[in-house]
Amino acid sequence: MRQILTPSGDLSGEAPVDLEMTVRLYRAMVFARAYDRKSMSLQRQGRLATYAPFEGQEAAQVGAAASLEPDDWLVATYRDAAAMWMQGYPLELLFAGRTGHEAGGRPPDHVNVLPPSITVGGHMVHAVGLAWAERMRGSARIAMTMFGDGATSEGDFHEAMNFAGVFGVGVVFFCQNNGWAISLPRSEQTASETIAEKAIAYGMPGVQVDGNDVFAVYEAATAAVARARNGEGPTLIEAVTYRVGPHTTADDPGRYRNSDDSADWTKRDPLERVRIYLSEHDRWNEEWQSQVEERTVEQVEQAIALAESLYQPDPSHIFDSMFESPTEVLEEQKAELEALLEDDL
């Protein structure tokens, strides 16, 4: 398992980025954690529906997303808010769905990020089609898809990997192995030693990296993105990390794991090691960090307020996006609903 920055903040290999960039990556991770924690408290206040926290996975998401060009495709999941945000998905839209309405599914026109996948597995195949189409159209865009360890059990993982391998499509398969598929530990999901080695079955390279080491993640992701862009085909990256929190706010990990596990993992915290590294290079201080955190909390509060305001309770909200132009049946049903609502007044 490739590691560059040890949990204690020492380099065991060559840093893939300069201090400037390291600060940027760290800043993004600080943002991600503050965003995640704030979201948890908003959910407790009842302002968000179920939320899937990613604490502990900040380095994986930030390191991977940082390797993309602004217009590359990102096809990720309900747990990948940090990566989606880095690729340009506005905060308020990330919140919209969780405040209970659909407006969040439409990113700005220049942002090539699909709405987060709620079904496990199906979205990886989409990334293959996206990247393939870009190649057909002579564009240099590639696609990255993010998924969990559990998603590799689905048949669609197999079909996505196999198509990408056969047609040499420029896709980066980025797996965040956080140790759990809800209550199922990695060891009971598959009998393969690593997830990375599954790449052999598809004739593509597979690499396993310390998912809590943003340097290792960034290095592997950048190499895979380069391969994809150069037409050298797909890569599977397994970022070994840990889901420190519950599966979602509706989940109670106490039912299936003892708190020590998570405790161990906090020792391998993805932020702390970079903080040490930066402070040793005099690029970190307390108040800068708290500023970033406070700023994030403000942004999140603005974003969720905006998200809540985006919703217009209106039949058109339901009917008007089924087809480019609504069918007669949909018009009839919409009228039926509108009539009912008027009676209500």
Binding site: I118, T119, G121, G155, Q189, L340, D343
Partner: protein, 325 residues
């Protein structure tokens, strides 16, 4: 007898099943350690062991296909799909194999398994978590399709389903899991598959529904009673095989029918019921058959749910409509 919810009745019923049949096993995502996302299998792994309450990888086609193989070899697998929207990857196994092995093998091989699927909206869930695709299963020859709406039926139908020599799709109304309570015996008992319940006798209109929508129908019937409208309320309980006699008898008596489902309208199960009535009871009809259903759209998220799900108001005004017609 204690008053319990549908969730508790199902949990108790699953316990009875594992007690009663050594061949019965439970298999699905998170059904063991956590007792399932709705806790329907809560405590069963502790009680019956990890060999009989099996946590599987996230692979619906695998769960159904492996369960199918177990059933052919003489087991009685009780499979759980975490939500109906996640049962689609298993359609090929259900349609091409589970529903057909008896026919394919002229009774030599059978698949006496149960697929439990929480279905329906109303809990403000994320996309794919509120589906009501029962019509797809009902349209597939070789399957039985059961949908309880109350604790007693939930337990009794579950035991019948596991005992049944053929595959049963067992749909569980998420919205009613914990909202309906009634006394349910701790004993093992059966509610027969294939018989509808006339929950409330009436003379003016036949109100026909099943599953989660029974709640709206019950409230609508009560409200209308106050207005002097006598509603005959039928809980189908089983979609396949359908208890057509009960439906036709009722419509012949009332001359009017309103069918309520929360699934999209086009080619939904309400259409089947309407078609049946128009074929067998046309001359008794005094007004058009009304379908009160979800719209032909994607099921909306939390804040749009009330616009999508048939409400008591919609049911009431549909009934008023048929009476005016």
């Amino acid at each position: 007898m204690a008053e319990i919810t549908i969730a508790q009745a199902l949990n108790a019923g699953l316990g009875n099943c594992l007690d009663e049949w050594d061949e019965a096993i439970i298999m699905g995502e998170d059904v063991g350690r956590t007792g399932g996302v709705f806790r329907i299998t809560d405590g069963l792994r502790e009680r019956f062991g990890a060999d009989r309450v099996i946590d599987t990888p996230v692979a619906e086609s695998g769960i159904v296909g492996v369960g199918f193989g177990m059933a052919v070899a003489g087991m009685r697998p009780i499979l759980e799909m975490q939500f109906m929207g996640f049962s689609y990857p298993a359609f090929d196994q259900v349609i091409n194999h589970v529903a057909r092995i008896r026919h394919r093998s002229r009774h030599r091989f059978t698949a006496p398994l149960v697929i439990r699927i929480p279905y329906g909206g109303g809990i403000g869930a994320a996309e794919h978590h509120s589906e009501s695709a029962e019509a797809i299963y009902a349209h597939t020859p070789g399957l039985k399709v059961v949908v309880p709406s109350r604790p007693h039926d939930a337990k009794g139908l579950l035991l019948s389903a596991v005992e049944d020599p053929d595959p049963v799709i067992f749909l569980e109304p998420i919205r009613l899991y914990r909202s309906v309570k009634e006394e349910v015996s701790e004993e093992s008992f059966r509610v027969p598959i294939g018989s509808a319940a006339v929950e409330r006798e009436g003379s003016d209109v036949s109100l026909i529904s099943y599953g989660a929508m029974m709640r709206e129908c019950r409230l609508a019937a009560e409200q209308l009673e106050g207005e002097g409208v006598s509603v005959e309320l039928i809980d189908l309980r089983t979609l396949v095989p359908l208890d057509s006699a009960t439906i036709i008898e009722s419509v012949e008596k009332t001359g009017r029918a309103v069918v309520v489902t929360e699934s999209p309208r086009t080619a939904g199960f309400a259409s089947e019921v309407a078609a049946l009535i128009s074929e067998r009871a046309l001359y008794s009809l005094q007004a058009p058959i009304k379908r009160v259903t979800g719209w032909d759209t994607v099921f909306p998220l939390k804040r749009g749910e009330s616009l999508y799900l048939p409400s008591v108001r919609r049911v009431v005004s549909a009934i008023r409509g048929t009476l005016e017609d």
